[in-house]
Amino acid sequence: MTGPVDPQHFNPRPPHNLPVQATELIGRDEEVARAVNELQRPDVRLLTLTGPAGTGKTRLAIEVAERVLPAFRDGVFFVDVAPLSDAPLVVSAVAQTLGVRLPAGDDERQYLDEWLRERELLLVLDNFEQAVAAAPQVAALVAGCQGLKVLVTSRAPLRVRWEHEFPVPPLELPDAGEIPPLDALARIPAVVLFVERARSVKPDFALTQRNAGAVAELCVRLDGLPLALELAAARSKVLAPQAILERLQGRLDLLSAGAQDRPARHHTLRAALDWSYDLLSPPEQALLRRLSIFVGGCSLDAVEAVCAGDGVPADQVLDLLAQLVDKSLVVTETVMDGDVRYRLLETIRQYADEAAGQHGEVADAGRLHAGHFNQVAEDGETQLQRPDSAPELDRMALERDNLRAALRWSTENGQTQQAVRIGTMLWEAMEHVLAEAESARPASSDPDSATTGTATPAADAAQGARLPGPLSAREREVIVLLARGFTNRQVADALVIAEGTAERHVANILNKLSLSSRAQAAVWAVEHGLLAGGSTQGVLETLPGG
């Protein structure tokens, strides 16, 4: 995008992966308009929304991205950087989100640069404060790709070339010393947010002359921080605004009397989090703490497996989880096949992780988390023996952050069998992710394609597994090994599966392709390009008796 948005000129629905928002953005009309204007300026290529935790940067970024979507021919793509502990993974995560398969090494960023160069798209990088070391790479992408713009959310600016900072202010507040008339008060953004969120848990909640003072005071005491206001309003089901104010007051006074060297809003959010946490029942507190072990969200099954027990009754996990959702501490997301995943906002996850540390629960949580994902990997192995393995690999790819965390725990704790099982599944899932990206990409855009016509000396089953077609990834791997002259026993050994399973794969392959012999299957593999540089004659010579 190099100029002002002309909605009639652009494709109305470019692709995007922006998270669906369950609630309307409140009180940010001015900031949305300003940020959209900024992004429309030709000279603004990297816009960083900055502000302390709980300011609503993510929500604002998503709204802005939705508004400018029509202006980006090739789409708008959202990447949550929070689960990525290593800066190099940021470029990988961007590539995966875009469906680009990258070569590794020093050329990675350059390769992505080449891919992006012909495109007009907006990248939204959320929670970037976790990965500031990747800032120069982001700046380099912006510098190299004219059609690329990047919208970042971060607690601090990236301090790189191209960056335009957009400080996100707290919501506009009422004057607590002089409460305006009710209708005017009801239009002030911080008040609007509190009232809306209170209504979502108590539908008959209304701003009245009686509670107006307390609501205004609450907004002021909470500094207009959206997350703090949401946490407080979530208690409206059982507490009137005056009661919420009284309970929060002590907490805020205590914190503001503490260290003076930290920003006041840090105290405000901390107080709101402490208060919100203290009001939870002990089982809810324990569940919240244990949820912090998950990386990139989790399924209900995972919550039940990892978090139940020791104060969290197994038969109450769903109810407790629903309570945490109601109290704005856990967010839900709908993923493939309509499944629901649960996730802590990053600010709340850090708070819960700290609380877990204070309770000495981190080691146990890590063990249980790794144990669960070991089981997930074991179950996945069984599923991968079935003809269509793609859905299972998609599911594993969705869990990659958790699998990576479980692999790390198992490796650091010397759990060899567990690490091997999880690592094996993670390898399969990552091959699948790269293969999907590869198959989605036109061959002509592959800078490596010039090299694939050269024969390689050993099995190129990896390439076979990556190519699309009627066969599953595993079956493509098997057919390449068949073409290399492997017997069923050797296929089984190479893929660490039972010989009977290998036989079934071979039978499925012949059936799917309407072939009657292994030799025909080998020829099919050559003719469909599964063996780099292989020839029909050469392959037939390698077959037993060939």
Binding site: D86, P88, L89, S92, L102, P103, A104, G105, D106, D107, E108, R400, R404, L407, R408, T411, E412, G414, Q415, T416, A419, V420, G423, T424, M425, L426, W427, E428, M430, E431, V433, L434, T456, P457, A458, A459, D460, A461, A462, E477, L481, R484, G485, F486, Q490, D493, A494, L495, V496, T542
Partner: protein, 118 residues
């Protein structure tokens, strides 16, 4: 060498013990790689560099061997490093977080230089 085999060669490139792999790293490779590593361990080697320069295929069963070796090395206070990965496999190494435990280098010289700085 048959298609389904890996050839393993061990050589001293002080201060490293380089384990050169040639062929396919699949379930078949377990005996060859693990024996070479253990033999070198018995001789007192501490810093190992797995050289994948001759490897054109790694599958999940192959990576299982490397993960098991990695944990064994950690338990024995040894260092395991990696070089020669194709861009595709280095990508997966990074995506899995394996390079956190087995640093990946462009060359044997780069690994030696890194080791010298430790």
């Amino acid at each position: 060498m048959a298609m389904n085999e890996v050839r393993v060669n061990v050589r001293q490139v002080p201060p490293l013990l380089v384990i050169d792999l040639d062929g396919s790293v699949t379930g078949f490779a377990d005996g060859a790689i693990t024996s070479a590593y253990r033999a070198a361990t018995d001789e007192g080697s501490r810093d190992f560099l797995l050289n994948f320069a001759g490897v054109d295929y790694v599958n999940s069963a192959g990576i299982a061997i490397i993960i098991a070796m990695l944990i064994e090395a950690r338990k024995a206070n040894q260092r395991l490093m990696v070089t020669g990965l194709t861009p595709h496999y280095q990508k997966i190494f990074d995506m899995m977080g394996l390079s956190e435990y087995a640093p990946v280098f462009e060359s044997i010289e780069a690994a030696s230089a890194w080791l010298a700085r430790q």
